[in-house]
């Protein structure tokens, strides 16, 4: 082997390691090791001052204490409902942007849809609070219209919470839907129509199968974000609306019971991962493809 070839090989090696170092540092120190540590934390229990033993006590507490798993199930169910509602609200607008509006109108409408999401969730939630609270805009309007005699409290209901969750999630559903609908050939719809299919049949047999990757991607992302949301449930859902992330926060920050908090964290992570895997299985897609399409 010549000297030049050897030095060339060394250079490729060096470049590879220089590129690999930041990636490994990031994934190792901020993702992998912290989660391993969290797992260890969740599988131990305090036996005395500064003494710990391996145990399943944290997970047992979760199943023994109805409050905890009730909140867990509630969070999961509400997240599923919120995801379904988001899909229903987002689909027509994605259709309008991808198929009905043309040229400038379409891109303008798309940008208009993006605008609210450039602002932080805190600001948007503040807006909903001003709109919905007892002394707020909508209850006042309802009294003026004579629909209610006194201002009603519209905050702190499950329905309010769903409105807030759908609102924060919309963008993450609209974007993948648009990209999957845009690739649908209009000729297919025309052909189906010419052959006598009605709107519903076209939707069921052509549009939905074609848009399935976008629908899956959107639903997965929205479900995950809803499950892990903290701000909207605590501010719009009020005190009696418990969300599982609140339990994690309480254990970790308020009660300083890190073992319990770690176990709760893993349960939430497990649920979120399970739904992602299930969604991919059902639609027969690969994780990497879905993530790239969003």
């Amino acid at each position: 082997m010549t000297d030049a070839a050897v030095s060339q090989r060394w250079r490729t090696r060096l470049t590879l390691w220089l590129l690999l170092a930041p990636a490994l540092l990031w994934l190792g120190a901020l993702i992998l090791l912290p989660h391993v540590d969290l797992a260890i934390l969740s599988f131990r229990a305090r036996t005395g001052p500064r003494e710990y033993a391996a145990s399943l006590a944290q997970y047992r507490t979760f199943f023994d204490e109805p409050l905890y798993w009730h909140v867990f199930v509630r969070t999961a169910v509400m997240s599923i409902i919120a995801t379904a509602l988001t899909l229903l609200v987002a689909f027509p607008v994605a259709w309008i942007i991808a198929k009905l509006a043309r040229g400038r109108a379409s891109s303008l409408l798309f940008i208009v849809c993006l605008i609210p999401f450039w602002v932080s969730e805190t600001v948007r939630t503040l807006g909903w609070m001003i709109l919905l609270r007892e002394s707020g805009v909508l209850p006042g309007l309802l009294v003026k219209l004579g629909l209610t005699s006194v201002p009603v409290e519209l905050l702190y209901h499950d329905a309010t919470l769903l409105v807030g969750l759908v609102y924060t999630s919309l963008l993450f559903m609209v974007v993948p839907l648009i990209s999957s609908l845009e690739s649908l050939d209009n000729a297919l719809i025309e052909a189906a129509y010419d052959l006598g299919a009605n709107g519903f049949a076209v939707l069921r047999t052509i549009v939905i199968p074609h848009a399935a990757p976008g629908i899956t991607a959107g639903c997965i992302v929205v479900f995950m974000l809803t499950l892990g949301n903290y701000l909207t449930p605590t501010l719009l859902g009020g005190k009696n609306s418990q969300w599982f992330t609140e339990q994690i926060y309480t254990q970790f920050i308020t009660r300083f019971n890190w073992e319990q908090g770690a176990a709760f964290g893993f349960l939430l992570l497990g649920l979120s991962t399970a739904i992602v895997v299930l969604g991919l299985r059902l639609s027969g897609q690969r994780f990497a493809e879905v993530m790239r399409s969003t």
């Binding site: 990636a23 912290p34 450039w118 602002v119 805190t122 807006g127 001003i130 605590t234 939430l268 790239r292």
Partner: protein, 286 residues
Amino acid sequence: MIPSLPRPVWLRSATLIYLIAFLAFLFLPLIVVALFAFNDAPYPAPPWRGFTLDWFIGSATTGRTGLFQDSELLGGIATSCLVAAWVTVLSVLVGTSNAFLLERARFRGKQVISLMMLAPLVIPGVILGISILAFASRLADLADELFSWDLDFLRPGLTLVVLGQFSYLATISTLTIAARLRRFDRTLEEAALNLGASRAAVFGTILLPYLRPALLGSAAISFLMSFADFNTTLMLVGSDSPLTVMMYGRMREGATPVLNAVSLFLMLASALLALALLRGGSKKPA
């Protein structure tokens, strides 16, 4: 249905009504936030009592502390900017390096690495936060025990907030930059090398200008998402609160319209950033 097919009148009007309702739903919260920043009342609620700028310029002497006199909120904005700047620099640098790693390098275990890079997107932010919090505390305890080092940056505080936000924003900038690098025409690079350009010159004069839109785009996204991040930040925050956490605290207590004022400021800032980005994007089409 699509425009080339006949659409009955009821369908057309239903579409229009839906679109109007959708846009109202989208913008109503933002409009009321902006509007009530100017209401001459102690709380952000109707009725409308006249126009005032108190919530921007008022001082303690008028009984209404406006945004420009509220040192706590201004401090929060400064903290958020500091954190966002660090996160942006880190995630664009690491994102660029990752993009080259994924698109150019060949090595064993590449599949595993590229899959792992996607993982932060499917881990809820709260869990990223607590795992980093727990791990950093363990390291700090260990350093204290073994060497009696006092590693303060591993305790809840801004360093951990930066690392926590970076841990998932790096994925987004990696995907953005890698997507652009993938479409690069490598014959340009080969031509430059054949003509005698050094590797560094090729990188500086061909690759960097080509990647510029993706770099700027991911920088803007990192900055905005860092500024807006709540879940991860809440778990890692120490004594200096970034703006979102501070606003959250005040919203729970029932805040004065000064929060509307700061929100309006945020809206304008992000709108300007978005506009600049769209402008920059259209000047040099991809």
